[in-house]
């Protein structure tokens, strides 16, 4: 089975809110110094889903990441987990693209890679979370899409996908090739073994530009953007927390219970 996984490098979403700063003018987040960017959480699960399919059925995993040269790090992370090859899609014309622009570039790169059985994306990015690149990409590639997968199996040239619902799940059957977006319910991603980390560190990650993938300049023109961000703000939350105390934690608990019982 040949799988292509789209991954994004993002600001570490686990940073404490105090370190989260924005530039409201530029409508951008200011990356806190000394905090390395990471692979987007759901994209890492997409890589995990790909690795599980490869463990079972063999084949190859190719990873692509649209981003700066540094994005090679997340490609290498995916290789350490079990991917075979990876490419970074970098070009000044790719900066600040909206979901349609991103899907267009990923589509062009996928066409360059060639034959595939399955394309995987995270359900949304951990930063802007636009939650639509996978679905738009599937429309561009002209293949079926299943969103919010919690499990993916392959058998008899078909995919069986568990799609997560608010109160359960549905089981869907899709032809090959299809695109699937992966949710966190798929489970915890594997920790790469040391030897694979070393292998990945030495891996060459070629960079593809707009020209390399044959992207049309008009498709990358920001004047044709479908959406634009017109404002960015940090919501203010003013809550005074009353710390309830007591001689012992148990005593504090009893005091808290009495207080809450009065309020409710």
């Amino acid at each position: 089975m040949n799988i292509i996984v789209c991954v994004k490098q993002v600001l570490d979403p686990e940073i404490p809110p105090a370190k989260f700063k924005i530039d409201p003018e530029a409508k951008q987040v200011i990356p806190p110094p000394g905090v390395p960017p990471v692979i987007s959480l759901f994209d890492e699960r997409a890589v995990e889903a790909a690795c599980r399919l490869k463990d079972k059925h063999g084949g190859t995993i190719t990873v692509i990441s649209l981003g700066p040269a540094k994005a090679a790090e997340v490609v290498k992370h995916a290789v350490a987990m079990g991917a075979d090859e990876g490419f970074v899609l970098q070009d000044a014309a790719f900066e600040g693209l909206d979901s349609f622009g991103i899907a267009y570039v990923l589509g062009k790169a996928i066409q360059k890679i060639g034959a595939y059985d399955l394309v995987l994306c995270g359900r949304q990015s951990a930063d802007w979370g636009n939650s639509q690149v996978g679905s738009i990409l599937a429309e561009i590639l002209g293949i079926p899409v299943i969103t919010l997968a919690g499990d993916i199996e392959a058998a008899d040239n078909k995919l069986k996908v568990k799609r997560i619902l608010k109160d359960g799940y549905e089981v869907l059957e899709a032809p090959i090739p299809s695109l699937v977006t992966v949710s966190n319910e798929i489970g915890i991603p594997r920790l790469p073994a040391g030897v694979r980390i070393m292998l990945a560190a030495r891996k060459q990650v070629p960079v593809w530009t707009a020209q390399d993938i044959g992207a049309e300049p008009a498709q990358l023109d920001k004047a044709n953007a479908h959406t634009e961000v017109t404002g960015l703000s940090v919501p203010t939350r003013k809550t005074e927390c009353e710390i309830v105390t007591g001689d012992t934690p148990g005593q504090a608990a009893e005091n808290l219970a009495s207080k809450l019982a009065e309020l409710l």
């Binding site: 802007w128 079926p144 608010k166 869907l172 009353e242 309830v244 934690p249 608990a253 219970a257």
Partner: protein, 331 residues
């Protein structure tokens, strides 16, 4: 630009208009009135009965009804086909969806097909001076809010998080038009087959309806210790919730996950136990009337959104808290 009007993509649940549909009609009516345009709704199902009239009572001027056995329950390929066909005829300027199982799949896909401009998981919608739809949505896991517009792409689309906008008022004297959607669904275009749909029943009170929610995080440490969370929730007649890490560990089922990618709850009382308060979790409980934090780390972020807190090891707090509530509630 030829596109005009607001189109709500309604949802039907158990033969009735789903609550989100009534919320969408409420916000859709406001937007349509501000623009001086029509509000219409699309209902897809196998038996839509009098639901078209009902959508009119909740504010729609026109209701497009697509009835087909293939639309009985959500099918991505079928729903996308019907909605895309209708949009190409009606040419709405704005199209609204719920941020639900249906909307989360249908909206991005339809957007890909129509080439519109979509904002997902919106908390508020308004119209600016240029009559553009302004969608406000959480980004960076809820750390920031972004407003987004589509200058030229149509339709301007948004999914709206359930229970963030007030539902429309019912008025049975309202007049409108129910229009059947013509045309059959092409079965050869249905590539993905729905094999099964499983409802995972959770024992006790439903999270979304609970007045009290007790949630545990990574700090709980084990599946066994998670029982203490369940006991407290039981005594309070409430529901159990969990953070993503706690669900990942398997201490609680995934359906109990609260946060940006899980469930959003707004009970009267939310008790957060041994969880740090990662913003993507907090995003799921900020609407609670009272948030209580129990954590041994006084620097934990959860205290910055909590109304009451105890700084101590939860293992020393929960048994006494549970016992005291039991006593108070028995009295």
């Amino acid at each position: 630009m030829d596109n005009k009007g607001v189109l709500v993509c309604g949802e039907i649940a158990e033969g009735k208009l789903a609550p989100i549909t009534i919320e969408l009609l409420g916000v859709g009516r406001k937007l349509a009135d501000e623009l001086g345009e029509e509000l219409s709704a699309l209902l897809m199902g196998s038996q839509t009965g009098g639901l078209g009239q009902e959508a009119i009572a909740y504010g729609a001027d026109k209701v497009y009804v697509a009835e087909d056995s293939l639309l009985d329950s959500y099918n991505s390929d079928a729903y996308t086909q019907v909605a895309a066909d209708l949009c190409s005829k009606v040419l709405p300027s704005i199209m609204l969806f719920g941020h639900t199982d249906v909307g989360c799949d249908l909206a991005p896909r339809l957007n890909g097909r129509l080439g519109g401009g979509l904002a997902m998981d919106c908390l508020a919608l308004s119209v600016d001076s240029a009559k553009l739809l302004v969608s406000t949505r959480p980004v960076f896991g809820g750390n920031a809010h972004a407003s987004m517009v589509s200058k030229s792409a149509r339709p301007q689309m948004a999914t709206i998080r359930p229970k963030t906008v007030p539902p429309a008022e019912r008025d049975d004297s309202r007049k409108g038009e129910v229009i059947p959607v013509e045309g059959k669904i092409d079965p050869s275009a249905l590539k993905v087959k729905v094999v099964d749909r499983i409802k995972e029943e959770v024992e006790g009170v439903k999270l979304e309806d609970a007045e009290v929610v007790v949630s545990g995080g990574r700090g709980i440490g084990s599946a066994q210790n998670f029982e203490m969370i369940r006991e407290l929730a039981n005594v309070l007649g409430g529901a159990v919730g969990a953070t993503r890490p706690a669900c990942d560990e398997g201490w609680a089922p995934m359906t109990l996950q609260i946060g940006q990618t899980g469930k959003v709850v707004s009970p009267k009382l939310y008790i957060a136990v041994a969880l740090s308060g990662a913003i993507q979790h907090v995003a799921g409980c900020l609407g609670s009337k009272y948030i209580v934090a129990i954590n041994k780390d006084k620097e934990a972020t959860i205290f910055s959104v909590a109304h009451f807190g105890i700084v101590a090891d939860y293992k020393e707090v929960l048994p006494a808290l549970t016992a005291k509530f039991k006593e108070l509630l028995a009295a």
